[in-house]
Structures are given as C-alpha cells and as structure tokens.
Amino acid sequence: MSTETLMAYDEALERFEPVLGMEVHVELGTASKMFCGCRAEFGGAPNTQVCPVCLALPGSLPVANEKAIESTIRIGLALNCSIASWCRFARKNYFYPDMPKNYQISQYDEPLCTDGYLDVEVDGRIVRVEIERVHLEEDTGKSTHVGGATGRIQGADHSIVDYNRAGIPLVEIVTRPIEGTDRLAPEIARAYVAELRELMRALGVSDVRMEEGSLRCDVNVSLMPRGTSTWGTRTETKNVNSLRSVERAVRHEIERQGAILADGGRIIQETRHFHEDTGATTAGRSKEEAQDYRYFPEPDLVPIAPDPEWVESLRSGLPELPRVRRGRLQEEWGASDLDMRSMHNADAIDLVEATVAAGAAPADARKWWMGELARRANEAGSALVELAITPVQVARVCAMVAEGAVNDKLARQVLEGVLAGEGGPDEVVERRGLRVVSDEGELSAIIDQVIADNAAAADKVRGGKVAAVGALVGGVMKASRGKADAGRARELILAKLGVSE
C-alpha cells in the first residue's frame, strides 16, 4: 500500500468530476432488540444479552419490534420520504460466523421509506442530497480476530464472537448518487453525515456515537473525466468511523482513483477499508466476484402495513429539524453566521441553548462555552458535552458575573473548581473564598497599606500623573488575591490621594 501513487487533489479535480454515494447505518436506541426481547444496550459483558432468538437456536422465531418500525418511519418522514403502505422484510443469505442465522433479516425491493432528501450546508451553500431509501434490518454480532497482524480474519489464529450486538435494530439510509459536488465533495460528504447525525439526535432515535459504531458510514466514490457524463466505476469504503474520516476517505479515494485513471488504469469495483492512522484506504473484498444474497421475502414475519393515520400522527409529532432550529436560534441570539458555524462545528448549540434556557444572556453563554470551556475541553482532548459541568451551572456563573459577585478572572476559577469536581458554582465560590471584596472597610485598609508600601507611585499620582494609579490598583488586586473590584479600588485610591479625574 505504500507504493500506491496518489494524484494531487487539485489536479484530480481539474481532470475529473467526483460522484458520491453514502450508505449510513444507524443503530436504533430501542430498549430491546429488533426481533427478540433482549436488551439492546452497548457494552455488556460478551454474550450476556442473548436468547434463543438472537442466537438462532433451532425452532426460534423473530417477532418485529414495533418501536423500531416507528423510529424508521419517523426517520423517513424527517428525510422527506414516502412511507410504504405495505412492505416486507426479506432474508439476505450469506454465511458468516457473526451472523447466527447465516441470513440477515433486512429489506430488499420493498423498503419502508423511499425517495426523500436532506439539505446540508457547506460554505454557506445549500446542497440537496437525495435519499433513495431508508430500510430496517438487524445488526450482526461482533467478531474479534485474534493473533493476526491486521486484526482481520485473514491470518488470524482464531476469532471470538460476541452476539450481544446481533439483532440490534439497524436502519440503513442510502443516498442517490450525489453529483455536482465538484471540489467540495469531501466537505459535502462530511456535512451530510454530520447533519444526519444531528437529525437522529433531534428525533431521539439513536445515540449516534460513531466511535461506538452506533452510526456507521460507507462512502462510495467514483470519478468521471471532465466533459463526460458516464459515471466511472465506484469503490465502497467501509470502516469510516468519524466525521473527519469521512472527509479524508473521500479525498483519498479521489486522489487514488485520479492517479489510476490518469495512468490509463481501471478502477476495480470493490470494498475498501479506511485506515485512521494513515488516512489511506486498502482493498477488501472484490464485488466483481459478486455475492449472490438470494433475497426472498421473510416467511417468518408478516408484512408491515402502517396505518396512514398513524403515519400522519408521527409526521405531525416530528421535532423541529436541526437546520430550521439553527436558523431560529441564530435569530433569537442575534449571532453572526461565523458564530453559528463555530458553535455548530464545536457541537455547542445544544449546550448554549440549554444555558440560555437556564437564564444566561446568549452572548455570555456563547462566550463561556466557546472560550474558556472550549479551551479546557481541547486540553483534555474531550468533547464539550463530556465536560463535567452542566448548562445550568454555566448559567449560574454567568449570573454571578452579571451581579458583580465575581469578575471574569474569578469566574474562570469557579469554572475550574466545578470541572475539578469541587461542587456547584456557589459551593466553589464558598470553599475557595472567591467572592469579590465589596466590604469598603476591608478594601480601604488594603488600599492604605498599598499606598504606604508604594510611596513613589503614590507621589506620582499626587503630582498629577494619574496613569501611575495602575500600579497601585495592581497592588490592591494582588493583595486581595484578585477578589477586589478593580474599578471601585481605583476610585478609592484617587479619592485618598486627593486626585480627581
């Protein structure tokens, strides 16, 4: 793979036009699995969330999870799809040890939702991504291949299988080919997945954690020479487990395919694997020796025939969609496009909204989340939402500043205390003694001491050099360990020195 030649991205784009296709799998956050009563939670000890049905013991039968069907219809509606009035599950037959039945219950030519779209925004431009289908299926178990160099089944000593994941409801969302992306193809691919992820969250149907595999993305890329209109052969890159990887995988495939085509070579239709460490893709199974899945309608399940009235009630119960909501919030907050984009990129919108809801001014909420807290999250290498502080606590800090109880410098210490687990903002203020010194007597005594200790500076001020008061204010702040109100200290110093501005 190290010998692979790449073409510079700019050159590839000059000569070829990319066509994208995205297949996203979302694990639904239902309480139980798709076809049995087992818990569908992530992270249980291996093979503890299993039963005769999801282990495919002889004689067991599936029963469809109605909540999963409902979630799939809601996803379809949110993606502007048509909902089938009658459709069936189908069996997809192939042998693999992590698939207990050696067939997957999926949908084939009768998906639950078809013909929709999702608008995504890239660089201020709205791109409409057309959705071909949304269907419901079951997840497989998880294989771990032990002893090989690559972690793949080839070359492994042995493999172990955890069937906890087998049978978790999985929704597959497939786009139509996305044309006309031009050089923004990587960004559009990323923005699509990001928007989809936010949509799933807004619908409350999945926790969409890419790192845990509850949102998985396959990226199809092909190139066609500029000036032609016949699509090239596509590759399907799997194992793309973060938004950044989506972008990198598309870019890499464009560079790789560009080099092959420019050299007169031909693209092999195949599955490729993305590698986080190198940003490269490597060949997997070739689709030219195509698997025949021998699909046929699942005889163990009855057809799905959603009542149109029920579908309409689901439609009217849809939440505000993410893009619409962002527009509304921008207006309510009076935020700039740039501010909104940076909050969006930092996944801060929900946090800011919750902080505003808890009483903070929008500008203050944004300032703390995007400033001090973003810095701390960055240092810790974690996401904002993972910080050990709640929007209500941030709102309380904003209120303290607004009341003058703490200044910005103290507020940062309050935040630090909360993040360190010292308690809520009020507790941290109490324990660390961070309240601004507002007792005039105490402040006056500190000032007298500072004037006495800095006679030269005091003289300068008395002599009319008012600017020299800065050193004295600094001394007061230092002596009070930052708790003095600097403005009030300045007034008092000038008064004591008999100087007026």
Partner: protein
C-alpha cells in the same frame, strides 16, 4: 380392555373419575413401548423416568382436588422436531445429535400445561423432509400393519406410535402432507390445522410458510381434544393467527352432516391411483350421499401444478432455514483441528451432518433463489400458490368441504422409493394444495385396499379457519364407517 387400547377421551374420563392413576396409564404405555419398539422403531428417545414423574405430579394435583383438563394424565408421543428442554431434540438429523435445547417449543409447553404426559420423542424424516421416515439419520420406522412397509412421513414415528398402541395421541408437523399421509397409511386420524392456527415457535423449521403442527389420534374426537389443547395464538410466532381456535371438540361431538355440500376434486380422482384406494374413496362418497350430504364433482385446475410449486417453495425456504446449522454454536462440529478455517469446518460439518435428501433440497432451493433464476422458479411458484388459493376460494363458494384420497397408494415397501425421489414426492400429491393455501385438512381411515389389505385415507379439506368442519364431517363418517366395519379399522391390524 387394556389401558393401551383406550382412547384419549376414555383415559381422560377414567383418570378424572379416579378409576385409574396417571402413573398406571403411563406405565402401561411405557411397557407397550418396551414391547414393540424394537420392531417398530417409532421412538428416538423414550423418557420413562420423566414421564412417570410427570404422571405422579398429575396424580398428586388431582389428589389435592385440583380441577384438571380433559387430557391431564393422558400419555402422548412427541415428534422430535419440537424443542423440549428436558429431552434431546434432533429433528432426525446427525447434525443435532446430542443437542439439548434450553427452551420448550410453544406446543411442548402447552402439552405440559394440559397435563399430557410426554412418553418420548418420535422418529421422523430428517428435518421433516420425506414421506416414509426412511430419511431419518437414526434408521427407519416400520408400519405396524406390515413391518416391511413404511409408516409414511415425515411424522412416521408419531403415526406408528399411535397405530401400535404405544400412545393414544401424538404430535406431528405437516408441511406438504407429513401428518395426513402417515395417518392415512397407518389407519389413524391426522389433522393439519389452518396455517397459523398452531404455533411454530420451537418447531425446527423446514419451510416456514408451510409448516403446521397438528395432532394424531386413533379417532376424530381425540384428535380434536389434542388440537384444542395446543392450538391458539402465540405472540412468539408472528404468523400465528390472533383469533379464537375454531370449536373443534364441539364439532367432533356434533358429527352431523345432513345438508352438507361436499365437493370431489376431479383432479385427484382415479388416474394413477391404486385401484383399492379409488374403490374405497368412491364407496365413501356414496356413504356421504346416503348420510344426506350433497356431493358434487368440481375442478380445481391449478391443483395439478401444486407439486412442482411446492418443490420450489419448500426447498427455497429450507435452504435458508438450515443455514444456521454451521457448527458454530450448537450441534455437530467436524474437522475443528485448530488449523482449519471456520468456513472449512462449516463445510465439513454440513457435509457430514446432513443426509442426502436434505442436501438435495438445500441445493434445489439455493438454485431456485439464485439471482437470475428467482423469477422463473421461486417467483413463478408463488404465483401458482395464489392460483391454488383462488381455486380453493372458488370451490368453497359452492361446497362446504372438498374431499379426495389422502394419498394415491397405500403404504409402500421400505426401500422401494428411496432411490426415486419423484416417486416419493408423489405420495404428497393430494395433500400439498392445502399447505400452499394454508387451509385446514384432515385424514381419516376409510377402509382397506383389496389388493394389499392396507389402510386407505380420506382427506377432508376445509377453508382457512374452517378446522371445525373437518372434525364435524370426519366424526360423522367415522361413526358410519365403524358401524359398517363393526369396530375401528385399526382393530383389523395384525398383532405385533
């Protein structure tokens, strides 16, 4: 009369009245099993200890004054295709030899709840694929009427057990005739309920859209009692019908057919059928008329295409259903030497674990579902299925039930058809249409063929959820036939 000759209803009454204990009844049947099963080989597993324990428990409950159902304490033989948590379950296959299911099939659970005492598990064609029980990996079962002949199949162990007085009742499954055909060739009653009327949960699947659990008994009322005991909606089986079970016991007791409209299926009359079968069938038609039924002949043209359609649909579904037997989680594992890949172990296990008929059907089905062939085979077969359902519908506008011989011939000799799958498949010619359409159908004995003295079966087919009609007509005919014979047909069987 000895306990083993009594009907289930009679045993239930004796048990209820305290005239006999469940332990005595179970012991009498276990003794019979010990006496004859060396010759018949109806059982793959005899659960003497657990049967006696169950029987004791029933006796204790009754002693405490508990009110129990009509079959509490009555013994039953259970087809070894239903999972049982306390007995091995093999489906007649080496690939499941030694497997102990961790759960009971819904039918098993309901047998237990009704207080039926499970004597053991009965032999069958491997994965219920066959019409003679010769495809069992554990050796054939013999017909109690003539030990050189087959007891039918796939539920041949269950039919032989009842015909040999080893149990008054047994369970079967009917995918293309696997209850009705064995009942016919052993001279007993076998019922295929409406598809979805009895639960498939825990029934090891052959063809999901066809498999139907049903009862065997020596008379119509007993079959109805067992039918009622294990049928009804099951939330664990999505294809199970959420409707009350038709009043089958009441229908079996009512047994009147005056004014009944009966249709004779022209397509299943005489041509290619054994002369003795045709003769008994025609006599039965006359008997029906003499009992006040109005008999008409009518045509169901698509029934002639049922057999080929069935041999595409059933193998297609089985090719997928049997994919799970891969050596990974349960059952046989061959060739796992630490070097071979999972794929190689799977292939070696399946090669060693499945018998030739199962392999034949897996290959047929795999081919029929293949891309490029699907429309011509599986798709076309599904269309035939629709046509058959329409023929039934049209027929049931004119008549209340349809009748035909259950099988074209009486029991054939063991070994005769093992190398001729087409001849074997023809045994299910008349029974398959009801499977493809999901209808109810029963087989009752209607006499002995003159040329070989072996039992002939009459098939009575009713609409979906019209199971009660099968019992009503069956019981009326049974009464008339037995008065003509001077007793049950089975009493004419030679002693074992």
């Amino acid at each position: 009369m000895s306990l083993i000759r009594k009907s289930a209803a009679e045993l239930g009454a004796l048990l209820g009245a305290g005239e006999v204990s469940a332990v005595e009844v179970a012991q009498a049947h276990l003794d019979r099993v010990a006496e004859i099963d060396g010759k018949v080989h109806a059982f793959l597993h005899v659960a003497a200890e657990s049967a006696l324990a169950q029987a004791r428990a029933i006796d204790e409950r009754r002693a405490k004054g508990e009110r129990l159902g009509p079959l509490a304490g009555v013994p039953i033989a259970h087809k070894d295709v239903f999972t049982t948590s306390d007995m091995p379950t093999t489906a007649g296959s080496k690939i499941l030899q030694g497997w102990r299911p961790p759960y009971d099939a819904t039918v098993t659970r309901r047998l237990r709840e009704a207080g039926l005492v499970i004597l053991g598990k009965t032999n069958l064609d491997e994965f219920a694929m066959g019409s003679s029980t010769e495809n069992s990996a554990f050796g054939p079962t013999r017909n109690p009427w003539d030990l050189t002949r087959v007891p039918g199949g796939s539920s041949g162990g269950s039919s032989a057990a009842v015909a040999a007085y080893a149990a008054p009742l047994s369970t079967g499954t009917d995918t293309g005739g696997s209850i009705r055909q064995p009942a016919a060739v052993t001279g007993i009653v076998g019922m295929k309920p409406t598809y979805g009327g009895s639960s498939r949960y825990g029934l090891i699947a052959f063809a999901s859209s066809l498999d139907t659990p049903g009862p065997f008994a020596r008379n119509v009322l007993d079959a109805a009692l067992l039918h009622e005991a294990f049928s009804g909606h099951d939330p664990m089986d999505s294809t199970s019908i959420d409707a009350p079970v038709p009043g089958v016991v009441e229908a079996a007791k009512r047994a009147d057919i005056a004014g009944l409209r009966v249709g004779v299926v022209r397509e299943f009359d005489s041509e290619g059928f054994q002369a003795g079968v045709v003769a008994r069938f025609h006599e039965t038609v006359e008997l029906l008329e003499s009992l006040g039924a109005k008999v008409v002949e009518l045509s169901c043209p698509s029934f002639t295409t049922a057999l080929p359609a069935y041999y595409l649909i059933a193998p297609s579904e089985c090719s997928s259903n049997l994919a799970r037997f891969d050596a990974m989680r349960y059952g046989l594992r061959v060739g796992d030497d630490g070097e071979r890949s999972a794929e190689e172990v799977m292939a070696m296990t399946r090669a060693a674990g499945f018998g030739p008929e199962v392999k034949r059907r897996i290959m047929l089905g795999t081919y029929a579902l293949s891309s490029g062939y699907y429309d011509a085979y599986y798709g076309q077969a599904q269309k035939v299925r629709t046509l058959i359902a329409r023929d039934f519908e049209a027929a049931f506008h004119q008549v209340d039930v349809l009748i035909s011989p259950t099988t074209p011939t009486t029991a054939f000799p063991i070994g005769e058809r093992v190398d001729d799958p087409m001849a074997m498949y023809l045994a299910d010619l008349c029974t398959i249409p009801a499977n493809l359409a999901g209808n109810a159908a029963i087989s009752i004995p209607c006499g002995l063929a003159d040329e070989d003295g072996l039992p002939v079966g009459l098939q009575i087919m009713a609409p979906v959820l019209g199971d009660d009609r099968c019992y009503r007509v069956g019981a009326a005919l049974e009464t008339a036939l037995e008065s003509r014979w001077g007793g049950p047909l089975l009493s004419k069987a030679p002693a074992l």
